[in-house]
Symmetry: C2
Subunit: 385 residues, 2 copies
């Protein structure tokens, strides 16, 4: 029997990978709802192709365009954040939560509250609202499957094992495109250079986060929420080839690693088929052809983002939410050409220095901290100019 | 409560590693029986140290010496193959079967027949008598835990997964100390050179097998028996650093790998504590310090042993038992200075060409094939001189 699926963020990079997998196994899936921010034409076309029951745009101003593009079909069109959450609340076998940034928080929470299985590709949700999300998962009896390649790797390396027997989690990092640059060269990095990731083809936000190593810092926080291992037992190791997606070391010194092609369809497929495996027909890993895998310690002097993230999660309270909001703001400012590459992490650290917040107790409080942090980051940016 | 353990082959390399782990966790273990071939003094000393109930030498002529060394203790001394099998048949929580070569076959079988857990470090048992051993495991409801680092790695990579979802097993091989030599240089390899393994400190037989790649061929056959994956889906990949101990690829192209220090205490510990993990206090893997892991395809022109093994298991019947016996004979002949390095695999292949046998139906038939193959190898060696 076909399994039902809702895809939050259908027109993004994770969305495209998910739909590609569904396309190769059409008979196995019944699509319930597809959502996008504002790409109405593309969303409508996907909704038609997959026979979705509903298509939702987060930006309500794009709803008329969506309605028009879906004219003559049975597909229900809707728009706005409330509509996103309603789509996410439809009961399905699996929800893929792939809306980038803090915008994905409320719909992800709505999906979790159905008590179903949620493949979580939205790392900001865990960073900003980790405790709230985890409580909701527990309350609803939902199953959270990490889709990020690193956390999916860790999840796979924990299968059949007991988390209490873990000695260390080894989070691998490509080191980004600027791993070998010095401080002077980093100063003059351009937007175009930063948008070219050596191994992964991803969205703009995460590609910049990879270049600053903020992505790895956010993943560090995410790992702490997903896997109950103390902070000092989560280590980052730089592995430029992005073949080993992360590792788990057990007390006996066995290290389990998950390797694979740098293709998000692999971890997504592992979530879609969990606890079984599905055929992806991707080119399999050819280690003899790859030849060499290298590993090195991260350089937190040149790339302070992982240190900043570790400090934020140690600080606790609202610090991770402040960090995430400041970073979303700073990345947007960099992409707009308003700040240089090195200013991204500086602005994040300054915002964290100037602002503090209690641990948020609800999504509303997370969003309030988020707004406050963005305002503070904007203020710092403007005073600084 | 302490767990009971019998160690078959206490004075060998695997035996020493096992006892080292027990020594670090003395209160957790009660040693039932320890066995050796003929090292009576060492065996007696270990039996005293661990408070074993029985100590057995396989070579009956060493029994008087053992008796003398155990005088004044309650430890029961015994000798001969029948006594080895009786020791192996004592009910215990776990038996470590670490007698090298075909000599370990009968005691391993006796341990399996108790229906307990057997940590199998004797690869020849599976190579020569794979089907017989597997039937016995099934009949007795025993649990077989592979202790060889590669098979233990594969076993760990299968945890929480379903073998039917496996696409390939990737068996890693160091390539041995002569991986980079050409045919001419290989011709003149000495016994001393062959006994130096780059990564592992092991017994003489397995060190020579590593140098010829016969060890990997035997492991290929062993993997086929332990894990129901078709022969063409077991691949050998050369990995000179011996850090990745083997891998399993699933249908979705996820590859799980087990890594660890090149220390047999890691896989042994994983068997001793299974399905939990025990603290080994070994130096943990430091990938940043190791820096580089390399992978390459095996060279079966210079090192034909893996091809010979693949052909033997494809041939089936008694071929693997003939192969194993001929190899044990040839390695001994090389260690005695009677044949050159390249003659080892030649002699094995010649023996396989000249001899054929039905699939053995019992241990006696395995031992008969074994004797016949050794006689044929000896005959070939002598005619050749």
């Amino acid at each position: 029997m076909a399994r039902t699926l809702t895809l939050l963020g259908a027109t993004g990079s994770i969305g495209a990978s998910t739909l590609d997998l569904l396309r190769r196994n059409r008979a196995d899936w019944q699509v319930e709802a597809l959502t996008a921010n504002c790409s109405a034409i593309e969303l409508a076309s996907l909704a038609r192709e997959f026979g979705a029951k509903a298509a939702v745009v987060g930006d309500e101003s794009c709803l008329p365009e969506l309605r028009e593009a879906l004219a003559g079909t049975d597909i229900k069109a809707a728009g706005g954040e409330q509509a996103l959450c309603e789509a996410a609340a439809r009961p399905v076998d699996i929800t893929v939560a792939a809306i980038v940034g803090c915008a994905g928080l409320a719909p992800t929470m709505a999906a979790v509250e159905t008590g179903g299985t949620v493949a979580l590709a939205n790392k900001e949700a865990l960073v900003s609202a980790g405790d709230i999300l985890k409580s909701a998962v527990e309350r609803a009896g939902a199953t959270l499957l990490p889709t990020d390649s690193e956390h999916n790797a860790i999840f796979q390396c924990l299968a059949g094992n007991d988390i209490t027997q873990v000695r260390r989690i080894l989070l691998t990092a490509s080191g980004g495109p600027f791993r070998t640059l010095d401080a002077e060269a980093l100063e003059s990095v351009t937007r175009e250079q930063a948008l070219k990731h050596p191994n992964w083809d991803m969205g703009a936000k995460i590609t910049i986060d990879s270049a600053t190593m903020m992505n790895k810092g956010l993943e560090f926080i995410e790992a702490h929420h997903l896997f109950p291992v103390s902070l000092e037992n989560i280590e980052i190791v730089v592995h430029p080839q992005s073949i080993v997606h992360s590792m788990v070391e057990y007390h006996d010194r066995s290290v389990l690693a998950q390797l694979g092609p740098s293709d998000m369809r692999v971890p997504i497929a592992s979530c879609l088929a969990y606890p079984q495996r599905m055929e992806t027909a991707l080119q399999p890993l050819d280690l003899a052809a790859i030849g060499t895998l290298t590993f090195e310690a991260p350089n937190e002097t040149l790339f302070p983002a992982t240190r900043i993230c570790r400090e934020a999660i140690e600080m606790g309270g609202g610090a991770p939410a402040i960090l995430n909001a400041a970073n979303e703001f700073a990345v947007a400012a960099f992409l707009d050409g308003r700040i240089g590459f090195l200013q991204i992490t500086k602005l994040v650290e300054q915002t964290l220095d100037r602002l503090s917040a209690q641990a948020p107790g609800s999504l509303e409080e997370v969003l309030a901290i988020d707004a406050e942090a963005r305002a503070k980051a904007r203020e710092l940016l403007e005073t600084h100019r």
